[in-house]
Structures are given as structure tokens and as C-alpha cells.
């Protein structure tokens, strides 16, 4: 029995495991950097302020004005519609259908990658937000008043998004595995179901509220957008200090769960092919012998391991938090728990880049050539004359991929350390105590980074 992640269905290519020597170098560098980070820690917070500088008003008006918002919204709705249509009407071959690559590579990976640099890019293009806002405007026009909403139960925080994130990944890598390929049609139907659910929730709690709390994609992509250098305030585009917007991200309950889910799901996807393969096969056989069908056994096994990943990542983080609590003058456990959640965002991003960067580069070639010219994969359409193009796998050598993978983990590690140190200085005004608390966060970061490296270096089964 083989466990095939989605990447197989799309490109039938995998990265080579990172060689042992590179693993050793990277792990050593991480340790050395960590020691220096402790020694050379600064003594007052630097990232807690946004230090935003508004960009010119004209640029803001062009990029953020109503016509532009309409345009972004329409583009978003059109692309969602195209993906759903292609998924349901197009070919059942995953790699020839626009839907899977668009949803799970272009959007699912593209928004985090680019938002982390530029700021939240998904918000303007969010098709559900656009529909919701249009519906709200229509309601106001007819009824003469704003639609009334239930107050959002703030205790729930971002938990709906965290659970939704696990569900999306479940659909992506577990539902469609082990011979039951995730069919484009399933993805199309899932997108429709999600659309109905999201619009209903927006109707109940309000468009913006739901986007901030429960809408999986807004929350998830928005999280990475907090690292980026552009933001908006009062309709004005502004530049801000990189990473600084992340510092205020985790104040909402459940935020830690979102970032932990992100790290856990990426780890799971990597580990299910390598490190976890043998234990997963044992558990699978054990369940299958109990008389449960093969597909069900496989899904139960994989779901269990996905949840196990989530539990382990959460446990490591909570242990670090617990340890910080022992440093004199520490705030309450729950303050610490939310207070350091944002420091994991760079790690989550690093995991994404390390695991999916090559898939993204290769598969986007397909996206912009044959999948664009022949979105349904019928073989008879050629809208832009690129239907017969292929993917050039020579543009990234194995070495280049390795260096990007390792570099992303090391850089993510350093940024995470920086943010954590910065946050510690807020809680412990005595910088020595702050540094002492950071031994614990350092252990957490080193654990995640080395685990990430380990996943990359384990040979695929």
C-alpha cells in the first residue's frame, strides 16, 4: 500500500531527500546561530511597533479605490467559478484539469508565498468576501438599512479557521490518497459546498467578521500576510516594518491553533512519505485486519497521524511556554500561550517553502501553459496556443532545491527567534530575564527546525 500525496497526482515528481552532509551543516548552522542570537540579544522590543509609512494617496486611490475593489472581486469570483466548472465538467485526470492545480498549488501555496513578502493579497481577491459585500450592498439598497448580524462569540476566536484548515488539508492529502485519487470533480464540489457554508456564515456573523475569524483561507493567508511589508489602514496603502504586523496577530483566541495546524499539516504531508511510512503501514494493516475496508482503514490511519502531528507540534510549543512560565516575573500561562504564537508563523512559512517550493515552480509552468489554454483538459481547446507545452524540469537542479529548502528553514528559524526575543522583552522588562525565558523558546525553535530538516532528509519510501 502506498501513501501518495497530492503532489503525485499533479506532477508525478518528488524532490530528492536532502543529503546527510547538508543536513549536518544546516543543523549545525542552526545551533550556532541560536547561540549567537542569545548572546547578542537586543534589550528593547523592535518589532512591536508597525512604523508604518503611508504611500502616496494617488497610488492608494488607484489600487484600493472602489473600481479596483470591484475588479479584484470579479477576478476572484471568475477564477473560483472557472475552477469549480473545470473541476466538475472537465477531465478526471488530475494533472490535466485546471481545478486541482489552481486550487491546491496556485492559490494554496501562491497566496502564502507572496503574501509573506507583500502583505495580505488574498483579502482583495477573496471571492466569498466579494459576494458577501455585494449581497450586503444589495440588501442595503433594497431594505434601506445595513443587514443585522449576530454577535460573533469571541471565545471561538479563530478555532473555526483552525479546524477548517485541518479539513482542507484532509481533503487535499488524505481523502485523495492510496489509490483513491482526489478527483477534480470532488474538489469542485467541495469548493461549492465551502462557498455555501461561507456565505451562510457571513450572513449570520457579517462578512468582515467571518473573514477575520472563521473563513479558513482569509485567516490562513492573512496570517502569512502579517509578515509582509505592505498593509492598509483607512483605505490607505502603507509600508510597514517587515514581520511587525505579526506581533498583534495572535491576540485572538485560537490563533495558536491555526499556526500549529499549518506546521502540523505540512509536517504530515512530508512525513507520510518518509519518516512515518513504516509506522503508518503497521497501523494501517492493524486496522485493516480488524475487518474495515481498505480505503477506510487508510483514511483512518492517515487521519490519526495527521492529528498526532497536530498534537505533537502543539505539545512542543506548550512545553516551551510552560518552561517560560518558570522564569521569575512571567505573565500567566494563557498570556504566554497567545503571546508567542506569532513567532511560529515564520516557521510555518519555512515549512511550506521547504516542502512545496519545487512543486510550485514546476506546477506553475503547467498552470500558465496547458492548464490555461485547455482548462478542462479536453485536448480540443487551445485558447492561448500553449495547450501542448510541458513542464521544464531542468530549470531547478536538485542542488538548487536543496539549498532553497535548507535556507528557508534556517531563515524561518532566525526570524522566529527574533520575534520571540522581541516579545520576551515586552513581558520581562529586565532583558536578562527575557533572555533566560528564551532558552525555552529557543529549544522549541531548534526542535521545529531540526524536525523540518529531518523530514527533508529522510528518503522517500
Amino acid at each position: 500500500m502506498s501513501f501518495l500525496p497530492l503532489a503525485h497526482a499533479l506532477s508525478a515528481r518528488e524532490d530528492l531527500p536532502v543529503p546527510a552532509w547538508l543536513f549536518a551543516w544546516a543543523a549545525s548552522i542552526v545551533l550556532i546561530i541560536s547561540f549567537f542570537a542569545l548572546a547578542a540579544g537586543w534589550r528593547s522590543p523592535r518589532f512591536e511597533e508597525l512604523r508604518e509609512r503611508p504611500l502616496s494617496e494617488g497610488l492608494s486611490r488607484v489600487l484600493l479605490g472602489l473600481p479596483a475593489q470591484l475588479l479584484y472581486g470579479l477576478v476572484g469570483i471568475f477564477l473560483l467559478g472557472l475552477a469549480v466548472y473545470a473541476g466538475i465538467e472537465g477531465t478526471a485526470a488530475p494533472d490535466r484539469n485546471f481545478a486541482l492545480t489552481f486550487l491546491f498549488v496556485t492559490c494554496w501555496l501562491g497566496f502564502p508565498f507572496f503574501s509573506a513578502i507583500l502583505g495580505d493579497l488574498f483579502r482583495p481577491f477573496n471571492p466569498w468576501r466579494a459576494i458577501g459585500r455585494a449581497a450586503g450592498a444589495g440588501f442595503k439598497l433594497i431594505a434601506g438599512q445595513r443587514p443585522a448580524h449576530l454577535p460573533y462569540p469571541e471565545k471561538l476566536g479563530r478555532w473555526p479557521a483552525a479546524i477548517g484548515l485541518l479539513a482542507v488539508v484532509w481533503l487535499e492529502v488524505i481523502y485523495g490518497s492510496g489509490g483513491v485519487i482526489l478527483e477534480p470533480e470532488t474538489a469542485g464540489v467541495a469548493a461549492l459546498v465551502y462557498t455555501a457554508y461561507t456565505l451562510a456564515m457571513m450572513g449570520v456573523f457579517g462578512v468582515e467578521k467571518w473573514c477575520q475569524r472563521g473563513e479558513v483561507f482569509s485567516v490562513y493567508f492573512g496570517m502569512f500576510g502579517r509578515l509582509g511589508i505592505f498593509g492598509t489602514r483607512d483605505g490607505r496603502l502603507e509600508r510597514r516594518r517587515p514581520f511587525s504586523a505579526a506581533t498583534s496577530w495572535a491576540t485572538v483566541p485560537g490563533s495558536a491553533a491555526v499556526v500549529i495546524a499549518s506546521i502540523a499539516t505540512t509536517s504530515y504531508d512530508g512525513a507520510s512519505e518518509g519518516a512515518f511510512q513504516d509506522p503508518m503501514e503497521s497501523v494501517f494493516e492493524w486496522i485493516a485486519e480488524a475487518g474495515i475496508g481498505l480505503t477506510a482503514s487508510l483514511r483512518i490511519t492517515e487521519t490519526a497521524f495527521l492529528l498526532l502531528c497536530f498534537a505533537v507540534v502543539a505539545l512542543v510549543y506548550l512545553l516551551g511556554v510552560r518552561g517560560m512560565r518558570t522564569v521569575p516575573g512571567a505573565p500567566s500561562l494563557s498570556t504566554l500561550r497567545t503571546g508567542f504564537a506569532h513567532t511560529l508563523i515564520p516557521i510555518a512559512l519555512a515549512y511550506l517553502v521547504a516542502h512545496y517550493f519545487s512543486l510550485f515552480v514546476f506546477q506553475e509552468q503547467a498552470q500558465f501553459t496547458y492548464l490555461l489554454s485547455d482548462p478542462l483538459g479536453t485536448g480540443t481547446t487551445d485558447l492561448f496556443g500553449t495547450a501542448s507545452s510541458g513542464v521544464d524540469y531542468t530549470i531547478l537542479s536538485a542542488n538548487a532545491i536543496w539549498y532553497v529548502q535548507v535556507a528557508s528553514l534556517v531563515v524561518g528559524h532566525v526570524i522566529g527567534l527574533m520575534l520571540a526575543h522581541d516579545r520576551a522583552l515586552v513581558y520581562w522588562t529586565d532583558y536578562r530575564k527575557a533572555t533566560a525565558s528564551q532558552y525555552w523558546m529557543l529549544a522549541v525553535m531548534v526542535a521545529f527546525t531540526c524536525f523540518g530538516l529531518y523530514l527533508l532528509s529522510v528518503a522517500n519510501g
Partner: protein, 305 residues
Amino acid sequence: MRDVKKLMVAVLVLLAAAAIAACGSSDDSTTGAAAGEESQPVSGEFAPVPGAPEAYSIVGGEAELERSSGGTTVSISLNGLEPKTPYIAHLHVGSCERSDPGGPHFQFEKGGSEEPPNEIHLRFTSNAAGEGEAEVTSKREVPEREAGSVVLHVDHSHHEMTSFEANEAEAVFVHEGVDHSKEGTGHPEGKSQPAHSDKIACAELEGGRWEEAGSATAVEAPTIVVRDGEPVDGVAELEFSAGEEVRFRVTSDQAEEIHVHGYDLAQEVPAGGTVEFAFPAELEGIYEVELEQLAVQIVELQINP
């Protein structure tokens, strides 16, 4: 606080140690490729191949391949053969363990002549005691990684038989000597033979190819047998280095299309037929080879930089 610091130092040192230990344990695949001994003779013992006629179950003997000053000498000695029977042995690239023991004949120029001097053949006629030996020297050196085995047959084509096909030092096969030019006349001893092959015995040349190098598989062209739409031995893992030639064959009992992803190569295999893929390993990474219609993976092709 100092205690905490000490504790952390200890933890980090342990982590570092663990990291380095992890490396050591996963290092095996990256080394040892070019470690083939230069001019040491490689040798092996003959044993009957599966499906060899009953009468040959006691065949034994030795095969040796020695490289010296640019040339190659292959010698064999056998016992337990039928008396006074012509035999031929060839040098093969592959292992005796293959489903077609030895795989293809070794050839200096691949795809060239199937006769010496492009291949290494050893011919002899057994004596009354069922013993025989032969030696052949080639002026060219059999590449380090290509000596797999020596395989013995009965000499079917007596007039063209001479000795070993010692081209590839992986396996020397000894075949029963039946003259191909007189098809239908049967073997000299009237023995029944496996329909597909008249191979009798095979001697694995230990160290004759780079067992661990992965490059060996390039030369021996492993065969993936597909039955009922499934690879019989599971998904085959083939490993090559960039720049080498990727070679493998697929045999299927059903008509299928074999698709090498990434390289995007496809060949139709008819029911019961075999197709061979041979292409340069240009793209690094791990690629799937699958039965296109059934979407069943049969090979995991790993190309290292």
C-alpha cells in the same frame, strides 16, 4: 538562571549529537559508488539456473574475469555436465538473481555486433567425465561496472560457438550447446529445455559490477514484470546519477502504455510483450513510471545529481 543555561547547553549539545548521528545512519546511499577495485580478478561459482533441465542439477564450477593492461581475460571451468557435449558461455551484464538470469549479454559497443569480439563468448566441449574449461582474452577492458555474470548454454550453433560471451563480467551463463542453425533437431542429449531459454548455469561475478552504485542497474537493464496490471515484485526503485543512461524494461501480460513521468516518455507494450527504455538521466528528482491506462505506478525512478 545559570542552571537553566547549563541545562540548555546540554540539550543543545545532545541535539547536535543527535543530528550528526542521524546523518551517519542515513549516509550509506551517497558513498561507495566509485569504489570498484581496479584490477583485481572477479570470480564466482556456477550454479544451475532455475528451470534448468534436471540432468544439470549437479553442475558446478568457477568463472573468473581478470583485467590486465587494457585487456580482459575470462576463464571458466565446469563439472557435472553431460559428457562430450558442446557448450557455450557468455559474459552477461546482470545478476544471476534476475528473472532472466544474467540479463543481456555484455557488449563493448552497446547495440553492436552480437558476436565476438564485441561480446565475450567461451566455447568448449565437455570431456567424457562431464568436465570442461575455456578461456578467452579480449583486447579491450570490460568496464568496471559491467561484469555481472557468466551464463552457460548448450551450444546450439556449434559452428559459430567458441567460448564465453565474456563481454560483461557480471554473469557467465553456460547454455546447452544446441545448434541454432539446425532448429528442430533437438539437443545432442535430447534434453527438454525451458521454452524461453536454454540457460543451464550461471556464475555470479562477485564484485564484477558496482553493486551499490546504482549505475549497475543502468547497464543491466532490469526488467519489471507486470501481471494483471500490477508489478509482480512491487514498485521497483531504480536509482541513477545525472548523466548516466537510464535503462530498464517492462514486460506486461496485458497491452498497456508505459509512461515515464517528468521525462514524458511513453511506449506501448503489447500483451505479453516487452519494451525497453533507454534515455539519458537529465532531470534530477524522483519520478514515477506508471501503467498509463490503469494509473498504476511500477517504478520509482530516482535521479541523483
